[in-house]
Assembly symmetry: D2
Homo-oligomer: 361 residues x 4
């Protein structure tokens, strides 16, 4: 099983929802990067459950511990290990599903593949493990910030309610203005109302998170099997509940003609720029210096509060009764995860790019 | 630069459009697989230029040579190297763009990243290098066919014309019924007319290819950073001109509620099945035995026959005049590439899965 | 920085000598392996300091905690994380060397490479991090034991005192008969006397550990860049203080003629065997079913109790005064490390070998 | 099967002795390195058969073709593919051993592992495939030469005849003074006489190649599982017929005391140096700026001209009769292979080291 992501700036994820801890090892972070621990906690807080009425009511502090790799406030070049202990475990909540397959969950596929499955709270398939990714992403963000690069994200769609305007990173604030993390206050109010309505019905709904990465220099990404957008897409598609990824013009770009879609170059005071950005900041798999933007589709959460017909391990028909505390819509808590994965991809390509030319000694 | 794809069944791509040859090394193919060379040529023919009036008029035979790894008609477990020599080079066609940046091409990003750029026909950024992938995919297809798995694809959208019906692999034929590779004859006729119209205008247009993989057993894919759909997405996003990837319900699934979107299990004569397949055959990153289906968005080809304003290496304004022979729409020739990449991903996961449990000696 | 080892059964090492913990993540261990925690502790005890008068007097319990990957006493296929907390830290012992370069230590090279160096107790360069490897090796040993494979080691040389007889794994006992872990009691007594004499002089001495792996089936290893002995050699050369590796006839085999050195095949009741085993159980990089044996050379420990001339970070001449508690000879404590690394290599090749042929579904 | 070596500067080897070609793909070579093709041919000539009376009488030109990755005389950053066609195939020479297991060859292990074995001339197990490595090494040498680094080697032992003096790279010349590639003319004469005597008897003999790498800056190598000497050892152990690797003081260093073995630092006009170099230029896995030296043990060639008892695929006793043209001792032709592998390792660590610190954009 491969639980690592990245080639130079590489993270290894571990942990289960109801084991002692979830965590991450970050290998390949350059030495001598000053780390502000508060920024790690800030992003963990943005991801944690129990933040607001539109997220799950589970309340977990998600405090982290650094086990290795940071000395005197700076990275040493050695692997950085961060763990987040699991406190609010309530294993008893899950005993009723040990032998049952919840629809559109990983229960069935895990059981068939591995036989010995930690079913408590989803075990390894729980979105809780993304806490480690977010912690690692907070390190990556601090590294790329030294180069003026920012990875940010926001909610751009809930159900069939969407905003079309693209926001730049300078227009977004980490101290979000609403609990949905949608920068359009008016649209946000409607989307929040929709989520509350869905929640009241014991149901769930999907959404879209838009990611934007600014300050990226020309040259990140590689031409063939390591195209910047391909690795970015893989990063996003690995997030729980994601069903699609598009960048730049995406699926809508299909409808355009080449003469409309081509991004014409022009020389400006800021150097070479493109007049439009259908390319989403990437041409031939390599960043061209324009903003990188992309959209990530999240399905409706599979856990609903109404009864569903299913089967147990023996194939007998059963009824799954919704229990526990779950998110009616994942997108508000997915925003810091999308940002983290975006930062991890960029951090890795920054380091990869440092070997494109032979340096001096 | 990373030109390899896959972890056990791994391919390494090499070659430039106007160098001596393009090719591929396939490492990790199991020993003792019977290889039918005709099937490799068949797929290369489906990808090659000059097939029909809706593709480029360049005519290349794309015959392949096997340099290693096959003995007595079967794989030996050693790396399989396949090359396709470049014949119709016409390097002179490209001298006029050596110092120019074509809009929405990789010229600018390659130049800035690598300095020494083979500009002839796109060099390393040319879609010609996918000939090697198709050859490798034809090997992967033969391997997975032994397990009853098929990777197929078809055109489902050109511009704003699309078909909504999903086709199963058993309804598709490799001996395609039309040059577009769209199984709906009526829709195909309209799409072909659109491409001809666009071509006549010296313009280009985008499209969507739908991929479908059938016969996949339960258990392929890995839970965290190697989710089956994430690697499939990465594979597709690495294909030239791709802007988006979605699987199962994709971006449209966002609009549904959990109670609509969940795929309910049922016990049938064929074993455990799901009543619907919004999951696209994958749950928690692991195949669940249902058909895997996905959609891949291709932008309009960047090379158009009309004049475009651009800049040269010094940033001076220039005019790019369309020349040469190019595709008005990539999707017909992209179909075998999508199939090949799908087969390569599955072949790799099949082998990875063989180490999930400890075998006997 | 790459802190991972292995390709399918892969470990990632983390931690510093005087940080909160050292540890390991084991990724790729097959699901459903029963794990006996006592066997992990047993090997950790064999490696820990303070075992006997011929090892360092530091006393650390080296108790481990499992953070993930084991459920209901068996592996789940998810990453297994094991940490060993650092208790007897005594950071003050090391403040005197923060700016000094100890001869033949990693102080100088780390400082120049990383700038921000955790100098306490060697930090990341401490042999203490091998505790994580030993824990991982204890998992690997339990996995390969299911196939009848054993990885064992013993001390075969201290200074210029050596034993020439080869011991089979069946002649070795994990409950070692002497604190040196040398199976020849008479030779052991002399070697122990030598170590005591060296220790009394405030000096240190080198030694050789012989490793033996039995029960290996034919077919582990790969022909070209993954030869079984090459990966085994890399594993051993990564152990702190190792200066050389040889397998089978090794450096002495150089002196023989082909007619003396060739291992002739013969058909026996146990199947095909070789009459001699100069090949050390490996031919063409692949195991041939005979015992695998190899020798690992350890230099004398660099920390000595007598004064040494050296320089500080500014290049000024200084005197390094021996302090603290150190091993006069590493080989007794190196035995479980050699065994662990041997087991990890074999576990990885066992899993790799499971993809040599295409299995059925 | 893994046929790649290296992590950033990575080569993939392919080909069989009697297939169409052997070759290599070099991925990750930085862009913009000027390549002198003559230097590639020079090293291929030093490795090729038929050079002198002490090597095999087979005569192969070993001319190479570059299929990709070099444009206008410089690397482009794209994969460089080099093939060497097989001309003097004489497949008929080998039909007599198709079903026979030659002692101490890879016949038996390949057959059992892969079933479908290319037995002609050893197929994939032939040392002929190292021609590709030598070509790749010649590229690596040209890259590291830009930094003042040289990887050289020479014969230091044949049978029981050895030279003890260490030679620096400045004392060695690529235009070797004798066909043995031993810099001590007097010793060389005796060694050559020994090889001729052994050859006359239809027998073979082992030897040792000493490698030396000069001009290496402080900081190459990584602390834990990527120690410079561990990767160097793996590189050498992957060369056909190698049985052992040691660096610096090696196996002899075991006999020394710490007070004798420690390399004391001193400040000189050339900066920090060590008074002795038992460390072999590497401390804690990282280069310390002193010369890196190491020794590689080669067993006697397994193919001898006298009859040997063996078995066939069915286990029946047979006689293997020596035929064909083979080397009585591999070390003269192994010298360029050792140099090449040394250069490849250093090139890779040079590039890895470029990501140790975060650069500016």
């Amino acid at each position: 099983m491969n639980n690592s992501f990245g080639s130079i700036f590489k993270i290894t994820s571990f942990g289960e929802s109801h084991g002692p801890a979830v965590g991450v090892v970050i290998d390949g972070c350059p030495a001598d990067i000053v780390i502000d621990a508060d920024k790690i906690q800030l992003d963990l807080n943005r991801r944690k459950p129990g933040q607001s009425v539109i997220t799950t009511a589970r309340n977990e502090a998600d405090n982290f511990e650094v086990l290795s790799g940071i000395f005197a406030g700076k990275t040493t070049g050695a692997p950085i290990t961060i763990i987040i202990k699991n406190k609010d475990a309530r294993s008893k909540d899950y005993s009723h599903i040990a032998d049952k397959y919840r629809p559109s969950h990983a229960d069935y596929t895990y059981q068939k593949k591995y036989s010995n499955r930690d079913y408590r709270g989803g075990g390894r398939s729980s979105a809780r493990i993304t806490a480690g990714w977010v912690a690692a992403g907070a390190i990556a963000k601090q590294m790329i910030a030294q180069l003026g690069i920012r990875s940010m994200a926001y909610v751009s769609q809930v159900g069939n309610l969407s905003i079309n305007k693209l926001y730049s990173t300078s227009a977004l604030r980490v101290e979000e203005e609403n609990e949905l993390r949608c920068p359009d206050q008016e649209a946000a109010a409607k989307m929040i109302a929709l989520i509350k309505e869905v929640k009241k019905a014991g149901d769930t709904i999907g959404g879209v998170v838009t990611g934007i990465i600014s300050g990226v220099p020309v040259g990140l990404g590689e031409p063939v099997f390591n195209k910047l957008h391909a690795q970015l897409g893989k990063a996003m598609l690995n997030i729980n509940a994601v069903k699609g990824f598009e960048y730049g013009s995406g699926f809508d770009g299909v409808k355009l003609r080449g003469s409309e879609h081509n991004d014409l170059f022009e020389t400006t005071k800021q150097g070479l720029q493109t007049k439009t950005n259908f390319s989403g900041g990437i041409q031939g798999g390599i960043s061209n210096g324009q903003d990188i933007y992309y959209r990530v589709a999240f399905k409706p959460v599979a856990t609903i509060m109404t009864d569903q017909a299913s089967v147990d391990k023996e194939g007998n028909p059963i009824i799954i009764t919704g229990k526990g505390r779950h998110d009616p819509c994942v997108v508000p808590r997915a925003v810091p995860i999308v940002e983290a994965m975006g930062a991890l991809v960029i951090a890795d390509f920054v380091l990869m790019n440092q070997s494109t030319k032979l340096g001096s000694l």
